[in-house]
């Protein structure tokens, strides 16, 4: 996308001329973009640059498995949302585009989080392979398990189809089981003469090969491919542009490139980039939210709206939370904050005494309430996660210790508390001054 200043000014003029012409078909663009961003079943036509290495290696392995009968096993690792499943699906789609390959290939998909038991995995695997139970003996799950693998092993050469096992959340197969039975068998088959098997594991953990048992690991060819995330700020901007460009809609594309050069938009996008750990899904959410507001009256993306939407995806929750507190709760928070220097935490009795001292000190601003009502306000603070009990939110300590003696800690920063007091509208002057003093002294 051209980012030279002179050219972008020209495009601005160009857009202005065309803004009133009904050339730009908003509904069509909207549906195209939404199907690209929202529709989980539509894959992009071209492979993104970033995913090319993975894509090419997987396609290669699939083709060699089908055409040459080569067994293989591979692990694709990468942080969440970097495009592992996407690359895999693209690779399989393009490999099966060839009729020779698609006839002789079966794909079995297993998932570590859904198939929590090896037996469930085996049952699902045999269902996907459409294995007929040969006799009534194969009723129990472990029998099916054994049958699955014996069938795979004994496939004869003439009718042999290549089987690709895709194991999603591979670390769940390795770590959360009693034994790695399924993995052992799978990798064993890949090392043996009989069947043609390709095992592809996908995982978010970079060290998931270490989780394998010794005998499993020895049967695993230690092939790992790492998929990187988008790391660069400029690359991120390019990516956003790529997501928004529609083919053959020149007016729209120019409007998009113009929008992305504006300072406000760039700033908030960079903000989002840093906050979201460079993950693409966040920007996809933002774009969905903004694109769905397109209509005939507003055929182009509005920069203010876009900035607004980005802001609402990452709002200041603790600010929202703290501004929701009533005066009583705020004074309780102040009282708790003065006590928080104690390393073990504070309990309600201490906070109540500190609250009474505050009431004495700021007698005009802060009203006194009896301990029953104050206890309920204190519990509301705990529910809002402003303070938290030291022994966790589950009822663990609740039975042994009387409610008023349970220990809590603050979850918000003292700076936040004081700045809240200083900026909140309903606070009287003396409290505000005190808060400002504390802020400036820190």
């Amino acid at each position: 996308m051209p980012k030279i200043k002179g050219k972008s000014l020209k495009t601005l003029k160009h857009v202005d001329k065309h803004a009133h012409k009904p050339n730009c078909n908003a509904e069509e663009i909207k549906s195209k973009l939404l199907s690209r961003l929202c529709d989980p079943w539509q894959l992009p036509r071209e492979v993104p640059e970033r995913l090319r290495p993975v894509y090419s290696r997987v396609t290669e392995s699939v083709r060699s498995a089908v055409l040459d009968g080569e067994n293989n096993s591979m692990l694709i690792v990468g942080p969440a949302g970097c495009g592992k499943s996407l690359a895999l699906q693209l690779a399989i789609r393009d490999a099966t585009a060839e009729p020779r390959v698609s006839e002789n290939l079966i794909v079995v998909e297993l998932n570590g989080h859904i198939h929590k038991d090896d037996k469930q995995a085996a049952v699902d695997g045999s269902n996907q392979l459409e294995l007929q139970p040969s006799d009534n003996k194969a009723k129990s799950a472990s029998d099916k398990f054994n049958m699955l693998f014996s069938t795979i092993r004994q496939a004869d050469k003439s009718s042999r189809k290549a089987v690709v096992f895709i194991l999603d959340h591979f670390e769940a197969f390795a770590a959360e089981r009693r034994n790695q039975h399924l993995l052992y068998n799978l990798f064993d088959v890949t090392q043996s003469q009989g069947a043609v098997l390709l095992v592809l594991g996908l995982s978010q953990r970079l060290d998931c090969a270490e989780l394998l048992e010794k005998r499993v690991k020895s049967r695993f060819t230690n092939r790992q491919i790492q998929v990187p995330l988008v790391l660069d700020c400029d690359a991120y901007m390019d990516l956003v542009g790529e997501l928004l460009i529609v083919d053959e809609e020149i007016v729209w594309n120019k409007a998009v490139s113009c929008l992305l050069t504006k300072e406000k938009v760039r700033k908030s996008l960079i903000n989002l980039f840093h906050q979201s750990n460079t993950n693409i899904r966040f920007i996809q959410n933002v774009l969905v939210a903004s694109v769905c507001c397109l209509s005939e009256e507003t055929p182009f993306l509005d920069e203010n709206q876009l900035v607004d939407i980005i802001g609402s995806q990452t709002p200041d929750y603790s600010g929202m939370l703290l501004s929701n507190l009533s005066m009583l709760e705020m004074s309780l928070l102040l009282a708790a904050e003065t006590l928080d220097q104690d390393s073990e935490g504070f309990n309600f009795e201490q906070v109540f005494r500190a609250y009474e001292r505050i009431v004495e000190r700021f007698s005009g601003s802060v009203q006194w309430f009896p301990s029953r009502a104050v206890l309920k306000a204190f519990e509301r603070l705990a529910r809002l996660r402003v303070i938290r009990p030291v022994d966790g939110f589950a009822l663990g300590g609740g039975v042994r210790v009387r409610k008023t003696y349970r220990l809590y800690r603050l979850m918000v920063d003292t700076v936040e508390v004081h700045s809240l007091l200083a900026n909140s509208p309903g606070v009287t002057t003396d409290l505000r001054q005190w808060a400002l003093n504390r802020l400036s002294s820190q």
């Binding site: 549906s31 998932n111 989080h113 609402s312 709002p315 929202m320 009896p370 009502a373 589950a394």
Partner: protein
């Protein structure tokens, strides 16, 4: 009334042959019993206030509506807001307007992952006969549905999950399955999470849902929502507006919670209305009406959040289904009783312990709250010399003791104090250990430490000072003489 309700419920439960889950029970409760007894749900928002709430949340309403009216809505949405901020109302209104198939899962009744999957399965296919035990079965069901239908079926489905913050503690990690429900099931399902906690407090919300925050309501918004249901109170809107202003001016510094304010309105409306009904004052005479009601309002502020009830109010129609709450005892000499003399049920009045158990209880309290070294001074006839502690240090020790709560003591210490208090010998048929066990089952004593029979058991007393005062007054012990905190040195 409640016993009839229970009987009817039991008969309904027995008549159904399928096992009854808590969600089913809840449905039975709210559906049938409400109709029979006409019980009104106190927390349910009246219709006009609902409309007003949607008006106040117009921005969020329109955004949710545009997102859900897409042919393929986003896979997950996350709606964050405090308890009465209207997220439930707005989402349900949108779904009603758009007429989408949906199911609501409340994580209070669906306390287990299995129940969640079962309800989702019911949404997908009502007549599915096999039992769903885990996520795998659910995915198999979804796949079988997908095979039968056209793949890009535009039939939208929505799963609403209320009280999402309870998902954090559930075993089996259903949160992850729900976040990826569309990907796994390959159907056009949207999951909407309604949560009171913001997303960064969840362990791992990936793939990230579209967040729609519901910022807290400010005072003008609450005002307009509260004044919207004046028709329920059969009065003019200006009169009701005035009343709402008064209530807000008193209650707003204490609580910003919509349901508490609404409860306060309900409670105090009849008292406010009384002079006008009797004809003493006119509707527009706000200052005099205010003066009449002021003290009552100020007293009820001190009971905010607590749904205590007076004997008078038990007979009135407005709040007919609050249960009396067992209060902690008030200090006997305080004048903080509300004006309309409540017959509050306090813990000491509920406790009807045998004579010797009362002594044991007092002995336990003393053992918990007095330091061990002071035992010698209180309970022996000839204690030796007592060195005075420096005043400052003593004060510090006393306040520490007050604030850190009751301490553990061994059983023999308590029994020793008990014998001293009693002063006389026990009759033979009284078994102390039996009575200690009773006290423990009543949670007046809590045992800490191991169940080991070789070590002496250690206990802690959980009774408040005011309750103990009443009990000791009953058995004629002057408790102040024995308490370390009230020592006059």
């Amino acid at each position: 009334q409640s016993t009839w309700g229970v009987l009817i419920l039991l008969s309904l439960v027995q008549s159904s042959h399928h096992p009854v889950t808590p969600c089913k029970l809840k449905f039975l409760c709210t559906g049938r019993v409400n109709n029979i007894f006409g019980i009104n749900n106190q927390n349910k928002i009246p219709v006009m206030a609902e409309d007003e709430l949607c008006v106040q949340r117009a921005g969020q309403y329109s955004r949710i509506k545009t997102l859900l009216s897409l042919p393929i809505p986003p896979a997950t949405m996350f709606i964050v807001g405090d308890e009465d901020s209207g997220k439930d109302t707005v989402v349900k209104r949108v779904i009603q307007d758009l007429q989408i198939t949906n199911t609501k899962i409340n994580l209070v009744t669906h306390y287990d992952a299995k129940l969640i999957y079962q309800t989702v399965a019911k949404l997908l296919d009502k007549s599915y006969s096999k039992v769903i035990n885990n996520a795998n079965d659910l995915v198999q069901l979804a796949r079988s549905i997908q095979r039968d239908r056209v793949i890009r079926d535009p039939h939208k489905m929505i799963v609403i999950i209320e009280e999402t913050q309870r998902l954090i503690n559930l075993t089996g990690n259903p949160l992850m399955i729900l976040l990826r429900l569309r990907e796994y099931s390959k159907l056009n399902i949207t999951v909407i999470f309604l949560s009171e906690l913001p997303p960064h407090l969840y362990r791992c919300l990936f793939p990230p849902p579209i967040c729609i925050p519901f910022p807290p309501l400010n005072r003008t918004q609450i005002d307009s929502i509260l004044t919207a249901d004046y028709s329920n109170y059969s009065c003019s809107s200006e009169f009701f507006n005035q009343f709402v202003h008064l209530i807000l001016s008193i209650f707003f510094p204490v609580t910003k919670s919509l349901r508490e304010l609404r409860f306060a309105l309900q409670r105090n409306y009849s008292a406010y209305r009384e002079p006008v009904d009797k004809g003493e004052l006119s509707e527009s005479n706000v200052s005099k009406l205010w003066r009449r009601v002021e003290s009552r309002l100020r007293n009820s502020v001190q009971n905010v959040y607590l749904r205590t009830e007076t004997v008078l109010e038990q007979n009135s129609v407005v709040c007919s289904n609050t249960d009396p709450i067992i209060d902690d005892d008030e200090p006997m000499t305080s004048s903080s009783f509300p004006i309309n003399k409540t017959q509050r049920i306090t813990r000491s009045s509920l406790l009807d312990l045998p004579y010797y158990s009362k002594f044991l209880l007092v002995a336990a309290y003393l053992a918990s709250h007095n330091p061990v070294k002071s035992d010698k001074r209180f309970f022996l006839k000839h204690h030796g010399k007592i060195r005075k502690q420096k005043a400052r240090k003593q004060l510090k020790v006393k306040t520490q003791a007050l604030q850190s709560g009751p301490k553990l003591f061994t059983m023999d210490r308590m029994i020793a104090i008990f014998y001293h208090l009693l002063g006389e010998f026990l009759p033979i048929n009284v078994s102390i250990h039996q009575q200690i066990a009773t006290l423990e089952s009543l949670r007046l004593l809590v045992s800490m430490g191991t169940d080991d029979k070789l070590t002496v058991p250690r206990y802690k007393s959980t009774v408040t000072l005011d309750c103990i005062r009443k009990i000791s007054h009953n058995i004629r012990i002057e408790i102040d003489k024995y308490l370390f905190n009230f020592l006059e040195n």
